[in-house]
Symmetry: C2
Subunit: 441 residues, 2 copies
Amino acid sequence: MRLLIRRVAAIPLDGVHDLLPEVDIAIEHGRIRAIGVAPPDFIPDQVIDGREHVALPAFFNAHTHAAMILLRGWAEDLPFDRWLNEKIWVAESALEEEDVYWGAALACCEMIRCGVVGFADHYFWMHQVARAVAEAGMKALLAWCQFGLGAAQEVGGVGLEDTVAFIREWNGAADGRIRCALGPHSPYMCPPDFLRRVVKEAERLGVGIHLHVSESEEQVRNSLRAYGRTPVAHLADLGVFEHPTLAAHCIAVSDEDLAILAEKGVYVAHTPKTYMKLAMGMAPLDRFLNAGVRVALGTDGPASNNDLNMLEVLRITGLVHKNRVGDPAAFPHHLLLRLATQEAVRALGFIESGVLKPGAPADLILLDTRGVHWFPRHSLAANIVYASHPSDVRYVFCDGRPLLWDGQLVTLDEERIRDEAERRAFRMVGAPMRLMRRYVG
Amino acid sequence: MRLLIRRVAAIPLDGVHDLLPEVDIAIEHGRIRAIGVAPPDFIPDQVIDGREHVALPAFFNAHTHAAMILLRGWAEDLPFDRWLNEKIWVAESALEEEDVYWGAALACCEMIRCGVVGFADHYFWMHQVARAVAEAGMKALLAWCQFGLGAAQEVGGVGLEDTVAFIREWNGAADGRIRCALGPHSPYMCPPDFLRRVVKEAERLGVGIHLHVSESEEQVRNSLRAYGRTPVAHLADLGVFEHPTLAAHCIAVSDEDLAILAEKGVYVAHTPKTYMKLAMGMAPLDRFLNAGVRVALGTDGPASNNDLNMLEVLRITGLVHKNRVGDPAAFPHHLLLRLATQEAVRALGFIESGVLKPGAPADLILLDTRGVHWFPRHSLAANIVYASHPSDVRYVFCDGRPLLWDGQLVTLDEERIRDEAERRAFRMVGAPMRLMRRYVG
């Protein structure tokens, strides 16, 4: 399909232009052919009037557990251990394989509506997530979570062999839109022997590793006690970082840890909404950036964070860290946009994308700027970061294919997914369906 | 008009029910006549099908400078002094009286769309704000900002006499929907003699006082140096708190300050998004509440905060303070909802409202719960606070009168206001209109 977006404002994130006030964007064979003036030989199949809209690279969500959307709002205002032990794990014990498909599909609907075309997912029964991603037309880095401990292996039902089979089946699938990684949960849930096996498999399969790292000071203390090393140094020793690594959180990190992460090119997934909601403290984004550590923004799972809204993640990241470092000039909005686009793209292992320029994959979104909350439009970029609403996202393209068209989901049956996911979620938490659904008629 | 909302879920905030899963709400003469089952003699003029919606008390915004919306996005990512001196004050020097009307009207559009029916405003040329509020059908507490210093008096063009005339003209106007207060900027911008005159006028007029208090440690140090008292103690000495007082911010407060604020029944307006965006630190919401200080949530002005989205204020307040105190169980969502409804109502001096019960003013909103970001609907209240979007707000009523009906503004001409406000905003900042508007065609 040849698509022409006419007379749109564009934030290309190309390192050259902050804003192109009015351009045409020509899309062909899934890529941007031209941005500026459409080539004379370009005969579009479809034209979008881009006036009063702003185009920018689509967002990528660098860390989530998409299917945990089934537990959104189920465990509110609780201490962390009760949140996890009494609510989340109890409900997850009722998780069926097919639930993961419906949860992931619901999450895809929500992410597309927030301008997200790709995400790094870390959960169980990942072939079900892969199915949803393939149908949604999105991109993803999928990692099957593994605990490497006896009993917990039961959750999700697989050992390392099964995840290897999953990777062989799905890595590179859906026209290369699906990439796979190994997904050991974390150094505190996976003993060294298990992590060594993971590293060996990563080498054999030529894939990366996505895991949780240093979420609290307590984890660091325990690691020092057990291994005489911080979790970061311990993972480096085990050779994990010799493979492309996506390390979620890194809240409690030393300067030595940061030097290792920077040197090894590890991507840190930064998900501040969850840190706040669960009162986990705050990962030091300023220190990451100053040390040269690569950072990408994400939502984390919607059971802790309550949604998958990358616009909100942009906003919260700017607000929290400006205040944390005491400098309103820090973390300018173009930096935040880059962390949710081109940096997140690379964190997922998709080298291209995250920029609007000729030749780049046509992963882009259009936001309608006519809502009262955009006026006056002194700065479109600042408005996106600090004032936009998900409902402003009107068009979403992934490799040039529309996932959202004039506010309507194209690839997914939103109503069916929504209702089926809710039915399954209510079953999981054992709620009496009749009562829970009374208010919806 | 007799209105019946049928089969709606309701969060009444009545201290009794967390959620009424399915009720009818009968509205008559601007008040709620019944909630539960409509009385048999109730013959409605209009009926809303409330299924798949949730009703709750409308939000009130306890502190803003509405017309500063004209500078939204104009001064981004700057150190505070450059933000204020090089950008905001320069642009405000070009402010014309009529601009305030259009800015306030634009702000009213945005607030209604976020479920807000009332706000406490503190700015210049407040009769222009009053005009906008009267037309919008909203409620407001309006305070004309005064500096009490020679030169700065020029801004807004009035002395205390003019604000007294404004109060005489507008207090109680628009069927009692408009209330007025005196608006000395702050103890650091108003010398003691001026504040004494303000107190005398408050007594004569029988109105309250809305001002900024203790926004930084530096202000406290300066006050101690000048008066030997903290700003709070200084204001108490001057008799300010003998009148209903709305004190914005109170970021730097001692336990003695809190005891004074609690004893005097002062309302603190808490606007965390601005504190974060301008890196001002964070007001201690936990200490306010523990000390018995009344607190209401607000946005602050959209020049610093970028919008007027009370849903976002709820969310940020919960997230920030859970993390600040290190307890995910703190600041539960029902508390947050109360601070943005019934507490904010009282902060504005409207004793009634902020609750759904028979006899209460029909200040309420309906949110559509069918968006994918609401599913599964384990907790409607948690979804409102942590996952809802402004576009979910479909109906807004103030004293039973619809301000928003099925997503359409009823009282204001949104397109005209939006475009005229933008035209004036671009004039204020001296932007070349042709260039600035190119991207909107």
